[in-house]
Amino acid sequence: MRSIYGDEAETVIADGRYGFISGLLKDVLKKPPIERLTLSDKIDRVIINRWLGIPLFLAIMFGVFQFVFKLSVPFMDWIDAGFGWLAGLVSGIGGWGGSLLADGVIGGVGSVLIFVPPIFLLFIAIAVLEDCGYMARAAFIMDRVMHKIGLHGRSFIPMILGFGCNIPGIMATRTIENPKDRLTTILINPFMSCGARLPIFVLLAGYFFAAQAGLVVFCMYIIGIVVAIIMALVFRKTLFRGVSSHFVMELPPYRLPTVKGVLTHMWERGRLFLRKAGTIIFGVVVLVWLLDYTGALEPIGSAIAPVFAPCGFGQWQAAVSLFFGFLAKEVVVGTMGTLFAAEEGVLGGAIAAQLGWTPLIAFAFMVFCLLYIPCVAAVATIKSETNSWKWPLFAIFYTTAIAWIVATLIFQIGSLFVG
């Protein structure tokens, strides 16, 4: 019996109920002939318009990155000057202690801390978009796209949270009822470019793409989204077949965000970054400095480096940075800072000069950093949320494989054109 009717009966019954309700309301509900649109409704006519919705979403995200990038430059210059002054102070100290302070601490931690302005500005922008009610609209707009890839809008909210940090993004998948939808959303979340990856992008885009830096960083976020969508599609067609569930999305009315609310949200997320800089990043750069100082680092890097040769960045310094980047992605920049004994202001130049990187290689490297292995904390979160080691291990290997393939394609195909 069910095989004949199947889904169809379900639809017929739902239609029957709605038919009953609309018939009933014709009798008992009188609405004014021309319904006065609330301001929210008027704004929504444009914002969630079928054709304008997605272009507007992209334009808003692009605007956000321009805002973040342009506005953070003067602040970053100040911090840079501050660390330059510190470096001058310690330059007099000789021996291993001086090297630890100058190359390890100032070079390593300094090159990460300089990204406080763009990260905090990005968090401010995300908080404003959330508090004014736009993020819920973004989820609504993307619902249509998400349905095409076999997910629904509810999966989009964890993805947007992933822009801040993948950990809350992965945890937010708890609101997804369907276990297949949930697992798919967890596995693609690491492709959403988190705040920790921003320092890498800002550093390399800022040096290698100068005027187009904002655009290039924006590209990274879009590449992350596109890869996430493609992988979701692949997962739904292979590992997790089945239909996704339906749901009704609430669109809260637009509100003016309050300064207090925005700053609170920014601080909640931003302090995690500061804490990481003070603990794990500090620890790792000291370790990197120690390995470097004792000469143990180059052999390790040289052993891994050939793997990255097809991607264009087969130098041992790049390999070492990526290796330690597993602990936290900011560490990629911190490690480079220590290796080249340079704080941020001159780090881009040092990389270009000593590694011979071109903009194409820098781009491929950024894409690799975007897509490869989720950081240790994200892997641990996947483990606790899926309650097994199978999925975190799977995530580690498949993301890294994809990162390698995409970076190689970019470098190899790009080389044909740029020469």
Binding site: R17, K30, P32
Partner: protein, 228 residues
Amino acid sequence: MAKEIIVALAGNPNSGKTTVFNNLTGARQHVGNWPGVTVEKKEGSCNYKGYSIKVVDLPGVYSLTAYSPDEVVARNFIVEEKPDAVVDIVDASSLERNLYLAVQLLEMGARLIVALNMMDEADSRNYRIDVEGLSHLLGAPVVPMVANRNRGTEELLEEIIKVAEKEVEVKELVISYGQEVEEEIARLERLISQDGELSSKYSPRWLAVKLLEGDEEIVKKFKDVKAG
């Protein structure tokens, strides 16, 4: 000894369900979990006109399918515990969407009272709602309210007592789903009626509709009983 009445509060998210719950029970609340699932269970109580009224706050849902634990919890409580009255909090400013749950509750044969909340919001949009007509067509009492200004709470309590004491009749709602589906429903109803255990627990028509909707939980129960 006061007579105890058990009332379940149902409603869509954002319909003001929590406010109504607080109005009814004040500070006398107890929060726990529904057995077996991590869905919050809130209970409270109040005394009114010699009755001791226990209020159980069901999770906010749009529908009563088996798609989410919230929906299953809400549905199972009504089917299995058979509360003396079920109050569905309905947002009067968006009736189309909110009545979908009310209709399903009535199809289940729940002893339903529709609490028409946010009447002020509906008024400000110049909606004219014929409360008596709505009550007549649904076959259930309808109480207009503005919960966030604590208006209508007393009227709701009166109605809860009337329904619990069976002074007011709440009819099981029958929606006609068209000839094809109706034939199937009739066939399934006959099958279900033959089974004493099933038909004593569930309304045969509701069960038949749920089976046709392909509701996994109900299909499983049906198979268990058939096999057993």
